[in-house]
């Protein structure tokens, strides 16, 4: 009896084991079907400095050929090992990093992806034993926070000069690589552009937006916007604005991509968000009823940047600085424009599609982006009013 059940158990085990491994192998094989590999078009030219295109080379808005700026072939070569902590997601940065790695045979880049806040906390907690060499972040606030903790090193002047002063740290410890404008996505079935106020302070008074407007208060970009309002208009005015919006029946979402989608869905007709979310909705759907409006000269038109910094724990600071330089190459800047619809910060590279150029935008001039690292005060305020 025992022999019987034991041998039955063995056969059963073997069967299950084989079945399981076959199943897993089959599944793994099937994943090839999900491979949406896009090839990089052209390899960089050795002479003449023409730049290549990274990624699909196709954008939903327009194709374009060579762009201005400094191509990677004119930059110092990179070799060695580099650890990059990236607060920007892998789908975006991964392609770019792979491209740079393939360009230089002696280079190995080890990226680490996580949210910017997590990475800042991690870098600070790791202290001087941190393996990170460079930090690439999605917003200036986190870069400012690292600078405040004394963890960043100044970049060489020739890197800093690639980008206008407004888009980098005055002390040179970080530099912006691409920009995003605060904007007002609105539903084109309900409103036209002239219906949207150009003064952010006017929004709480717009009765026509009652119960029809949305925001994402836990989202870092929104909090940066509120911080900007505090810097420009003071705490009291900001408090009133937040209270006014709450009284208007504003709806809350957990991030701004959802706000843009809700506007396109008609769930709300107006919202607050970074400009590129609207473009992503436009790219992802067939002619959705959504477009962008901009306010002028106030926090609502704030222009924030994604940027990079070299950390004080960098093994090879020159290599890390060179990596940052490559993020400002014409290939990389063009890539940001085409893939995530952001604003290139190198002056000679244009934004994509029908986006207004940086000159046409009206961001508030007195705003210093490093001041956006005072998130604590903003959180306090938002809590007081009851937004958070």
């Amino acid at each position: 009896m025992d022999d019987d059940s034991a041998s039955r158990r063995r056969t059963r085990r073997r069967f299950l084991g084989t079945g399981a491994s076959l199943g897993i192998a089959a599944l793994a094989g099937c994943t090839d079907a999900f491979d949406s590999g896009e090839e990089t078009t052209e390899s960089p030219d050795g002479d003449g400095g023409t730049s290549a295109q990274i990624g699909s080379g196709r954008s939903p808005f327009s194709d374009r050929e060579n762009v201005g700026g400094t191509p990677m072939s004119e930059m110092p070569p990179m070799s060695g090992e580099l650890t990059v902590y990236s607060g920007r997601g892998e789908p975006l940065v991964g392609t770019l990093i792979d491209y740079i790695e393939e360009l230089y045979p002696d280079l190995t880049i080890r990226p680490r992806y996580d949210s910017a806040a997590n990475l800042v906390n991690q870098i600070i907690t790791e202290g001087q034993n941190s393996p990170a060499d460079a930090f690439y972040s999605v917003n200036a606030g986190s870069l400012g926070a690292l600078k405040d903790e004394g963890r960043t090193e100044a970049l060489p002047d020739e890197v800093l000069s690639m980008v206008p002063e407004a888009f980098r740290d005055p002390d040179g410890t970080w530099i912006g690589t691409s920009g995003r404008a605060r904007a007002i996505p609105y539903n084109t079935d309900e409103w036209s552009e002239s219906d949207i106020p150009t003064d952010i302070s006017a929004f709480p008074d717009q009765e026509q937006f009652r119960d029809d407007v949305g925001w994402a208060p836990t989202y870092s970009s929104f909090q940066a916007f509120v911080t900007a309002m505090r810097v420009l208009q003071g705490d009291e005015a900001t408090r009133e604005w937040l209270q006014g919006m709450l009284d208007l029946g504003v709806k809350e979402y957990s991030d701004e991509f959802l706000v843009a989608q809700a506007v396109a869905d008609g769930e709300i007709s107006v919202g607050f968000g970074n400009h590129y979310y609207t473009l992503r909705v436009q790219a992802g759907r067939d002619d959705p009823p959504i477009d962008l409006a901009f306010t002028e000269n106030d926090a609502g038109a704030m222009f924030n940047v994604a940027g990079a910094a070299v950390l004080d724990t960098a093994g090879d600071a020159d290599l890390a600085a060179n990596f940052v330089r490559h993020l400002l190459s014409s290939e990389a800047q063009d890539y940001f424009a085409r893939e995530t619809f952001e604003y290139p910060l190198v002056p000679d590279v244009d934004p994509i599609g029908s986006l207004p150029s940086i000159d046409e935008l009206n961001p508030p001039e007195e705003l210093d982006l490093t001041q956006l690292s005072d998130l604590e005060g903003t959180i306090e305020l938002m809590r007081e009013v009851g937004v958070l």
């Binding site: 897993i24 789908p91 906390n121 769930e267």
Partner: protein, 536 residues
């Protein structure tokens, strides 16, 4: 012959005076290792200036969200028990058709990350969701809102009831049904027999499972955020993501969660009640459902339908709508599967090994030290993942730099996080074993270790495998600690899903989620099939 031992009869094994040396030392080592991260948290949390801390904690808003969390946790725990216990009974004790299949399916929701589940529910049942679109032609203007407390409770319950299910199931499997037969011969109905015999013996397992549910619900970030419910974790999340003092504040708030955990633990030890030990663990009696046999399938089918089919359906919908628009970086690789399964299996094994001495001591010996070790094992579980991750980052870079950002520290982190899942399951199984049996083996010449291996271990196998299954499944979907402690470039299925989700490319989350489900299901099948020890 099996008899229910009364506490008097085995007073000899309820040793108040003497704890066996080896298990005690091992337990102490494990408990100390688990406490280390928490000690760092305490130190850092108290770095916050007392005034700002007091100010934050005494705010009415803080109290409100705290009460919100309490209500949510209570509701989720109650609902999980109501779902998990009957289903465990159904699949273990009755002649339900395809019981093995349903066992796996019922436990499967555990592998779905809470934010995926929550997001799927919002996409399905929210305003402008899939259901709304389907019903619109029929004239249904708007559905009752999915947001808020009901939605959060629903989603959390659906993805945590398997904790109660798995632990109750393990207890029922090693339950001695001759007792029930005896009760039936004494003219008890099935229900009375359940109430008087089965329930008191199964209660510790149910309590262990509900404890896991309660603590998980308490510390979960994703679900309350997406369901727009103001839970306590939302406050922690906001603090954590603001710079400057925010980190310390988040840690201080997490310590508050730990304090609440201790309260819940005390509650649970009351509810646990007198722990009666049982006989030889015979499980031959099967309840015949008769006419209800096939209709009884409705219960697990409905549950599986709601908890599994909804997210799968939504994900497949996104996939069909043409999700893959990004470049190579979001392509799925077989190595993700291997990584996920490998590290989860390692975590399950390590946790079982670490938890074994603790569970053994806690079950066998009624000694304050033994129960202290057991309580300590829960501390890591109550701390939100991001915060625990940070603690281990510190410990790793300061004291253990060679293993920082390696798999060793990662598996250790999983052990710290998920130890109570294994301990709870194993402890209730140890309770089922009549100590007379290993003692008999000793009198027949075995060493104590030999008696343990040959007699006790096979009897507690269901608890061991139940605990392993729990840890395996929970590790498969664990995100926060993995993000912080993984070796750079180490990719798992869950990280892939998170990346796609974070970047808004939901279609790309579909394939890995499906694979996650498939692989977890298969692995569950393999694990549960090893449970089937038949003790004659």
């Amino acid at each position: 012959m099996a008899t229910a031992s009364t506490p008097d009869a085995d007073a000899g094994s309820q040793d108040r005076d003497e704890l066996p040396l080896a298990p005690t030392v091992a337990s102490a080592a494990v408990a100390a290792a688990v406490l280390l991260p928490v000690l760092w948290l305490i130190r850092t949390g108290f770095d916050v200036s007392p005034t700002s801390a007091a100010e934050l904690l005494s705010r009415p808003e803080t109290l409100r969200v705290f009460l919100n969390s309490a209500a949510m946790v209570a509701a989720v725990t109650g609902a999980s028990i109501l779902i998990g216990v009957p289903l465990a009974y159904l699949t273990v004790r009755t002649d339900l058709p395809f019981a093995r299949f349903w066992t796996v399916v019922i436990a499967l929701p555990l592998v779905i990350p809470s934010y995926v589940g929550a997001f799927a529910f919002v996409s399905a049942f929210g305003p402008n969701g899939a259901l709304q679109r389907i019903l619109a032609p029929v004239g249904v203007e708007s559905l009752p809102t999915i947001y808020g407390l009901p939605g959060a409770v629903l989603v959390l319950t659906l993805y945590t009831y398997p904790y109660v299910y798995i632990t109750t199931r393990a207890a029922l499997k090693s339950f001695d049904t001759t007792l029930v037969e005896a009760a039936r011969t004494l003219e008890h109905s099935r229900w009375e027999a359940f109430k008087r015999i089965t329930w008191p013996q199964v209660r510790p397992a149910v309590a262990a499972g509900s404890l896991l549910v309660a603590l998980y619900a308490l510390a979960d970030f994703g679900t309350p955020a997406i369901m727009r419910f103001d839970a306590f974790t939302r406050v922690i999340f906001v603090e954590f993501n603001s710079f400057g003092d925010g980190r310390q504040m988040a840690i201080l708030l997490s310590l508050q969660l730990v304090a609440v955990t201790l309260v819940i633990l005390t509650l649970e030890s009351r509810i646990r009640g007198a722990e009666v030990q049982a006989g030889a663990g015979r499980s031959t009696d099967v309840v015949e459902l008769g006419l209800l046999r096939w209709p009884a399938l409705l219960a697990p089918a409905l549950l599986a339908g709601v908890s599994l089919v909804v997210p799968l359906g939504i994900l497949l919908g996104w996939l069909a709508a043409g999700g893959s628009t990004v470049g190579q970086s979001l392509a799925l690789e077989p190595e993700y599967v291997v990584n996920s399964v490998g590290v989860s299996a390692a975590a399950a094994l390590a946790t079982i090994l670490a938890g074994l001495p603790i569970a053994y001591l806690a079950a066998r010996h009624d000694h304050p030290l033994a129960s202290a070790f057991e309580r300590v094992s829960y501390v890591g579980y109550a701390v939100p993942g991001v915060v625990l991750g940070l603690a281990l980052v510190f410990l790793g870079t300061s004291y253990a730099t060679p293993i920082y950002q390696t798999l060793y520290l990662l598996v250790f982190a999983y052990v710290v996080r998920f130890l109570p899942q294994a301990v709870g399951s194993m402890r209730t199984s140890f309770l089922r074993v009549n100590p007379a049996l290993p003692e008999a083996a000793r009198t027949l010449g075995r060493t104590s270790i030999g008696a343990f291996r040959h007699v006790t271990l096979p009897l507690v196998a269901p608890g061991l495998f139940g605990g392993a299954a729990l840890v395996f499944l929970t590790t498969m979907k664990e995100l926060e600690v993995t993000l912080m402690l993984r070796p750079s470039g180490f990719k798992t299925l869950v990280l892939h899903i998170w990346t796609a989700y974070e970047s808004g490319y939901f279609g790309d989350a579909a394939a890995p989620a499906l694979i996650l489900l498939g692989v977890s299901g298969l692995s569950m099948l393999v694990i549960l099939s090893q449970e089937g020890y038949n003790v004659k």
